[in-house]
Symmetry: C2
Subunit: 216 residues, 2 copies
Amino acid sequence: MKIGIVGGTGDIGEGMALRLSSKYDVIVGSREEIKALATCETCRETLQVRGLKCSLAGVTNQHAVDEADIVVLAIPFKHVAPTLKTLTGFEGKIVVTPVNPIERTAYFYYAPPPEGSAAMMIKGMLPSSATVCAAFNNIAANKWQMLDEELDYSVAVCCDDEGAKQTVMELVDSVSSLRAYDAGPLAAAAIVESVTPLLLNIARFNRMRDVGVKFV
Amino acid sequence: MKIGIVGGTGDIGEGMALRLSSKYDVIVGSREEIKALATCETCRETLQVRGLKCSLAGVTNQHAVDEADIVVLAIPFKHVAPTLKTLTGFEGKIVVTPVNPIERTAYFYYAPPPEGSAAMMIKGMLPSSATVCAAFNNIAANKWQMLDEELDYSVAVCCDDEGAKQTVMELVDSVSSLRAYDAGPLAAAAIVESVTPLLLNIARFNRMRDVGVKFV
């Protein structure tokens, strides 16, 4: 299975490339191909030190979409709409959104677009044959890159297509100690995305780092 | 410390009375005093079987407010505004809201009032000298009553007064294995309340029961 990461050179994107490329073919996308190639080189070195083989390719965001079965949008919310407007070829793909629209004053809060959630906005911007799936929303960016740390968290997955949802839940379950939970249709993604500002507040007000969530 | 439970004869209210009355003076309120007295009698019997002493009084909701230092609003969201309109005497009290505005179609979703959250609506209905504190929002009603089960969950607490927040966090920490976390000001309560429909969806779509949450 080929996993394309749009924004694969950011914190979450690079961490995902590290965690996924020893199990899947990972295609790291970036606005500039040279940056994607550099990220792949860094990842390869990190994994080689640990004796792990990997499958990584560095390309443009457009090529990452073109070549992937599953496209992960590893980009901040504010860049999602501008980036999607420059890309085509999502027809028939599974598109995973870990994106959370968050704003901050004295505390973090959920600031969804008029569509109700980042997930629903993304669905509205893509062709109808693309299947959008919210997943990985509540995992701290730092944790992705700390390969020596178990990711022992619950991951809520929202999607309107049962087959695509199953595929993404299996992908989630294959990463470290993550455990996927079916959290309903894509319209229910708002309450998944909004857990992230809560976790940021918990970290901030209790002097903790990289707080995650488990359903128990 | 005297804890008054408005709506103390409902599922959550009775469960709270069971869990709190062996450590605090609990005043169970109800629209009808006779129901409150019956709930107290049931609780006393349950606790006596376990060899636990308790301090319980059954009164009207108004008397529960009048006599308590901390008032818990253990009522469904739809009853909150009508109930608060019938009650007075909240001046100087700490008012704890575990209330979650939730609606349901094929899935559960967060349906806050125009104020942004149940907590902010409640604040707007009470005198300014009352201190509203969101807590206990994400604990399944059933679990309160199952005395043989540990409540091993995280509890996010939102409040604008640091002293009142500390008092409520200590109350949380005294119940079973609950652990309180400072989740910021009351305006941040929306993202705490909205975890509850997520947990209900997780339970529903994964055939689980009484799902709770831990911050890890």
